[in-house]
């Protein structure tokens, strides 16, 4: 494996053949905003937030899936890139129903944080306000399609780490929706192992654990097997 040298944001850096711009930038402490990327999962370039400029090229390149080249000159921050990133986050917000104030992920949300990072204070685009459903058929988890940004982290973690491939995406464009198995309710899935990895990797409030919002505290008395008072009671 040979070493390639390039510049990112005017800094001389080096990386190995096959490494991505994002990888090399982060190794060198150069920040590039991302959303669909999650270390340990394959990269798919779904969100386009990590777009960078490469000298001599007119089009923009997603840093997470673009491998480095010898002598490459990469720009990470420019007015053009900032405008594109702001627009991307705006599109994500306006395509579904993201109501931060009443979301299970409020203050723990990568989309909410990104809005601050890219300086988005309002939406110039109209809100699409689509009809989107909540599937709460799974015993322990739920999916709120109102909050989904189609980053496909859940699809990848389920396939690549858990090996179940319960999740996938159906439809195109604004009609695209996450599905479990062949579009059946999550609770009916016989491939889901209920491992919860999808919930842990979700950047927004789309995938959530039940029992964490108002009036949902359920006691699990069997955890106290030495108490007899609870015997036969579920609540």
């Amino acid at each position: 494996m040979s070493v390639l040298t390039l510049t990112i944001e005017g800094r001389d850096v080096a990386g190995q053949t096959g490494h991505t711009i994002l990888q090399v930038a982060r190794e060198n402490g150069i920040a590039i905003p991302t959303l669909c990327h999650l270390q340990g999962l394959s990269d798919v370039g779904a969100c386009r937030l990590c777009v960078v400029e490469v000298e001599g090229q007119r089009k923009l390149f997603p840093a997470c899936v673009t491998t480095i080249d010898e002598g490459m000159k990469v720009t990470v921050n420019s007015e053009r890139l900032a405008a594109h990133r702001r627009r991307i986050v705006e599109l994500l917000f306006t395509e579904r129903n993201h109501i931060c104030s009443v979301c299970v992920a409020d203050r723990n949300c990568e989309l909410q944080d990104l809005a601050v990072e890219v300086g988005l204070t309002h939406f110039d685009l109209p809100l699409l306000s689509p009809q989107a459903v909540v599937d709460a058929t799974h015993e322990r988890f739920g999916i709120d399609h109102n909050r989904c940004v189609l980053c496909t982290r859940c699809v990848r973690v389920c396939d690549e780490i858990e090996g179940a491939h319960t999740w996938d995406v159906m439809g195109r464009g604004t009609e695209a929706r996450l599905i479990t198995d062949m579009g059946i309710p999550w609770g009916d899935s016989n491939t889901c192992t209920s491992c919860g990895k999808c919930v842990q990797v979700c950047p927004t409030g789309a995938l959530f654990e039940k029992g964490r919002s108002v009036a949902e505290a359920r006691r699990r008395r069997p955890y106290l097997p030495y108490l007899v008072a609870h015997e036969g009671r579920t609540r």
Binding site: F93, C100, V116, T121, H122, F123
Partner: protein, 176 residues
């Protein structure tokens, strides 16, 4: 030189943004020294006055009354501030947009009511088809997201505006 004229107005919101405004504690004395509060929930004035320098707008535009008021506000205001998520994004009031006003009213005033169920009469302003952010209806000069925006943020925005500076809210406050 006379003091800047400040107004606040409460449209389709929960009043939380006004509460957050009041939450700036002793800094309220400083602010009220430096401006004339000419309209809003904090003063007893019935008609929106002319020649207002700054108006803080809380709430989304959801009813015919909101619509009438926001046009009047815009006509008479130099710097219009969308204060909080309802004004900026339509937030919680906008959650009815997928459902529509007829079904919402039926649910709230007929289905869920046990005593004398009836739809609101002509005394209650009619709901618009959609609850919309303020800037979907009139031009907005300053956006202050947050549910509610913190008292510190509201103070710094007011301090900037009173001092003739343009407040920068990008990167300092989040939705929610």
């Amino acid at each position: 030189m006379s003091k800047p004229r400040l107004a606040t107005i409460w449209l389709d919101g929960c009043s939380g943004c006004h509460m957050s405004l009041l939450d700036m504690d002793e800094r309220l004395f400083d602010i009220t020294e430096r401006v004339d509060i000419v309209y809003g929930a904090l003063v007893d004035v019935k008609e929106f006055p002319e020649d207002v320098d700054v108006t803080l707008v809380e709430g989304a535009i959801s009813s015919e009354d909101d619509l009438r008021k926001i046009y009047e506000v815009r006509r008479n205001t130099r710097v219009l501030v969308s204060l909080g998520d309802c004004a900026v994004t339509s937030n919680v009031p906008g959650m009815r947009n997928q459902i529509g006003p007829a079904a919402i009213l039926e649910r709230a005033y007929l289905e869920n009511v046990t005593i004398n169920p009836q739809l609101p009469g002509p005394m209650v302003p009619r709901l618009l088809a959609m609850s919309r952010p303020v800037h979907a209806v009139v031009k907005v000069d300053v956006f202050v997201p947050g549910c509610p925006p913190s008292a510190d943020l509201i103070h710094s925005v007011l301090d900037d505006l009173i001092s003739g500076r343009v407040p920068v809210t990008a990167g300092v406050t989040c939705f929610g």
